[in-house]
């Protein structure tokens, strides 16, 4: 036999001021199930000794005022969002007991996404779902759980499957997921059933204390006022009409969850270690103090996969190592032309304003479409570095300096076509003087993780130097090649 305590639970406030200052009855309507469930939860909180640890997430609906009753930490949530709010609290305080208390519109209507995903993550929280098959606070409208034929103010002729669909079985939906440990549907239709509800509520909370995982109790609850019945009639109606649609009973009671809740704990990492992880105070590769002949507005373009973006990053890193200011911006929006990938790199002694290079003074093109797309944008007096293996035509402009380098062919001979762009970059470095070969050699091993690729790119630099030596006699550097 269970003993029924008649004194008020300690975790309920001594008076219910929502009703009236000093009131000892709740603001809930006569015969409403909320009061019963509040008592059962409060009693369980008392018995488990978790009052101080409990954070109660109240919903939108009649029980929005749960914080007037529960003498625990309280937060009021947006309509349907309590399980997301509870999930975040769970992940903030490992020892807190987090309760999400929701009605049928809140949980099964507007908040269906939040409840399903919180359950699916197996959050170690407890959800109490009050299913009274109607919207209470807003005045008796249809709920997702309203049964077929049931009259509400928004289904005055009765809920019709063809128009409003079927009542939603929440316990069954949650039971279809892998993560929950406990799913039970109970009813408040009579004293024996209330005792079963009491057991389920305690179990669902105890599971959380024991860090087992996600528990949900669906409670079929009367709403006499909106059902337009007396309290006694409403209990009979609940038993005869709701219970056949929403069968009571335990759907799941696992001894432990499918994963260890400890997984969601975070190791304590010291500030010193965090600074190390983030690279704060790392030593800088500082080689040169290059004086630029002019600010570099550099554009590199080619097919995706030709290392266009990464070669641009390499150049920007070299510029930083030279003590220069730099920006890198990938092809984007209207800047993306000719179906090619491109990146804008600025290198300057001064603070750089616009990072967008519309009119480059140095253009590196890895293929023909890029040459076609950008040749005309180069500023008079600028330079174009052409991968002539894949852009076999000559530069047509006469007011720029062109370097036609069969970079892909040379790279192929070296054993890796991916280093073609570094050959071109080497020639650019030597011609422009914007970065030094020494810096390029220092930065490449830091920028490229794979050892064999580092070696390949180091050889690419040598080949680039050799090409420059053979093809760019000093006096020709300022004229057309």
């Amino acid at each position: 036999m269970h003993t029924i305590k008649h004194q008020k639970a300690r975790s309920l406030y001594p008076t219910f001021d929502r009703k009236a200052p000093g009131a000892d009855v709740s603001h809930y309507c006569p015969g409403c199930g909320h009061g019963t469930v509040h008592n059962l939860i409060a009693e369980a909180i008392d018995d488990l000794g978790i009052q101080d640890r409990t954070i109660f997430c109240s919903p939108v609906g009649c029980s929005v005022f749960a914080y007037y009753y529960f003498d625990v930490g309280n937060i009021q949530c947006a309509h349907g969002r309590a399980p997301a709010v509870a999930s975040a609290i769970r992940r903030t305080h490992e020892e807190a007991i987090v309760i999400s208390y929701q009605g049928d519109g809140d949980l099964a209507g507007i908040g269906m996404s939040q409840i399903v995903h919180a359950a699916n993550r197996g959050e170690n929280i407890t959800v109490f779902f009050i299913n009274n098959a109607i919207y209470g606070m807003t005045g008796g409208q249809m709920a997702p759980t309203t049964i077929l034929g049931q009259n509400t103010v928004t289904t005055p002729a009765g809920r019709l499957a063809a128009n409003e669909g079927f009542p939603v079985g929440v316990a069954e939906i949650i039971n279809s997921l892998q993560a929950p440990v406990f799913v039970e549907r109970v009813s408040l239709a009579g004293p024996v059933k209330v005792m079963k509800a009491r057991m389920a509520i305690r179990k669902a909370l105890r599971n959380q204390v024991e860090k087992k995982g996600f528990s949900l109790v669906e409670i079929l609850s009367p709403c006499p006022v909106n059902w337009k019945m007396t309290a006694v009639e409403s209990r009979r109606w609940l038993e005869n009409n709701l219970e056949p649609v929403f069968p009571v009973g335990n759907l799941r009671d696992l001894p432990k969850g499918p994963f260890d809740q400890v997984d969601k704990k975070k190791a304590r990492i010291s500030d010193r270690k965090i600074l190390e992880i983030l690279g704060v105070g790392e030593e800088e590769v500082h080689t040169g103090t290059v004086r630029l002949k002019e600010e570099q507005n550099f554009k590199i373009a080619g097919f995706g996969g030709q290392g266009v973006l990464s070669t641009g990053i390499l150049l920007a890193n070299c510029a930083i190592a030279e003590g220069l200011k730099t920006t890198w911006l990938p092809s984007y929006g209207a800047e993306m032309r000719g179906g090619t990938a491109n990146a804008s790199i600025n290198i300057s002694h001064e603070t750089i304003g616009s990072p967008i290079v519309s009119f480059p003074n140095a253009l590196m093109v890895m293929n023909l479409p890029s040459l076609d797309a950008f040749e005309d944008t180069v500023r008079p007096g600028g330079a174009i570095y052409v991968n002539s293996s894949l852009a076999p035509r000559k530069v047509r402009r006469e007011d720029v300096t062109a370097y036609h380098i069969p970079a892909s062919d040379i790279a192929n001979d070296l054993g890796g076509i991916q280093c073609a762009s570094v050959i071109l970059l080497t020639v650019y470095a030597l011609v422009s003087g914007a970065i030094t070969i020494e810096t390029l050699q220092k930065v490449i091993p830091l920028a490229i993780k794979r050892k064999n690729l580092v070696d390949l790119n180091m050889r690419a630099i040598e080949v680039g130097i050799a090409w420059h030596r053979e093809n760019c006699p000093k006096e020709e550097k300022t004229t057309e090649v």
Binding site: C77, A88, H117, R268, T327, W328
Partner: protein, 350 residues
């Protein structure tokens, strides 16, 4: 000192972690996804929480929960995601919970596309979501400021118990620049009002519902007084050659970078151009603009929208000086040269 070449979207996460962030909740969206990528990598490695939420409605609700529990919590998104967050943003303001929200603006409306725009200005600056509310809005224009603003955002959010927005754009998110990282990690202070699941915080209630008219009115007045206070305490802006400027650009984010170059080019041509760049869009630098209105011949607001910030400028200068709008939409970005030519043309036309 070490400089790290990184994207604006990455820098914001470095700044957040060094600023004491404990939680990241978010849903991926281009062009903000690198924020989630960096957070997914770095938060767990630093012993902090990262969770990809099922949608932005949930991620902002998770911010609400974590902030209520005393965490330093941040999310990143773009326009379509921010629209979904409107509900939660209103609740965060109503319950006065501190959080940090990064908006990497893309072109709209609807799905629009991933190109840059600055068309979330009205939505973010003038109160995202229902009710009379707002938050601090910081407007970075470099990867460095993405880091720096995230670094200081939590302290601001807690000082005013409000949301701090970092209103960025697709270019400032995607740009890579050298970033110098702050060298100290900020600590997350204990908050008297937060829920810690212990005896000391048991009587705390976080809610935005007020049943008595006088109480809700009082709450609203309290919020507005707080926003008003920000104007004198934290308004921030950068001035470029304003001392003798006759033509003043007003721009933020990527637009301000282009205008900065345009000012340089115009000066070379003998045009006395200058720029005021708001670093805080809320509070807005209205007082300084009003002062400058008495000095310059014209203000030119350059923005990537239908003209949203321009209304705040017009309100600030109150007709004292003509205000022109140079604007672009749909992802179109002007070149420096375009802006220079346009102003020269306008001046020639008188």
């Amino acid at each position: 000192m070490g400089q790290h070449l990184m994207k604006g979207n990455e820098a914001v996460i470095y700044g957040a972690l060094l600023g004491g962030a404990t939680h990241y909740f978010g849903y991926p969206i281009t062009p903000a996804s690198e924020i989630a990528h960096a957070a997914a990598d770095l938060f767990p490695r630093c012993g902090k929480h990262f969770l990809q939420a099922e949608c932005e409605v949930s991620s902002i609700s998770m911010l609400y929960g974590a902030a209520a529990a005393g965490a330093r919590v941040i999310t990143g998104s773009s326009g379509p995601g921010l629209s979904l967050m409107a509900e939660g943003l209103s609740y965060l303001s109503g319950s006065e919970l501190p959080s940090v929200v990064v908006d990497v603006q893309r072109a709209g409306p609807g799905l629009g596309y991933i190109w840059p725009e600055q068309s979330d200005y009205n939505f973010i600056v003038h109160g995202a979501g229902h009710g009379s509310h707002s938050g601090v809005v910081l407007a970075p224009n470099s990867a460095q400021e993405m880091c720096d603003f995230a670094y200081k955002a939590f302290e601001l959010a807690e000082r005013y118990r409000c949301t701090v927005f970092i209103l960025s754009d697709a270019y400032i998110g995607q740009i890579m620049e050298p970033v110098e990282l702050p060298r100290q990690i900020q600590t997350n202070p204990h908050k008297d009002w937060a829920l810690y699941g212990d005896e000391g915080s048991r009587h705390n209630l976080l809610s935005s519902i007020y049943l008595k008219l006088e109480e809700l009115e009082g709450h609203n007045l309290h919020l507005q007084a707080k926003y008003k206070r920000m104007e004198t305490e934290i308004v921030d802006f950068e001035e470029v050659l304003t001392d003798d400027a006759e033509y003043l650009f007003v721009a933020y984010g990527i637009s301000s970078r282009i205008c900065h170059s345009a000012v340089g080019e115009l000066r070379k041509k003998g045009v006395k151009a200058g720029m005021l760049r708001p670093k805080t869009l809320f509070p807005f630098p209205s007082v300084r603009l009003r002062q400058l209105a008495g000095q310059v011949k014209k203000m030119i607001v350059a923005e990537l929208s239908n003209g949203q910030m321009v209304r705040d400028v017009l309100l600030a200068v109150q007709g004292v000086v003509p205000v022109d709008l140079y604007n672009w939409m749909g992802g179109r970005i002007p070149s420096t040269e375009e802006i220079v030519l346009r102003l020269q043309k306008d001046l020639a036309a008188g």
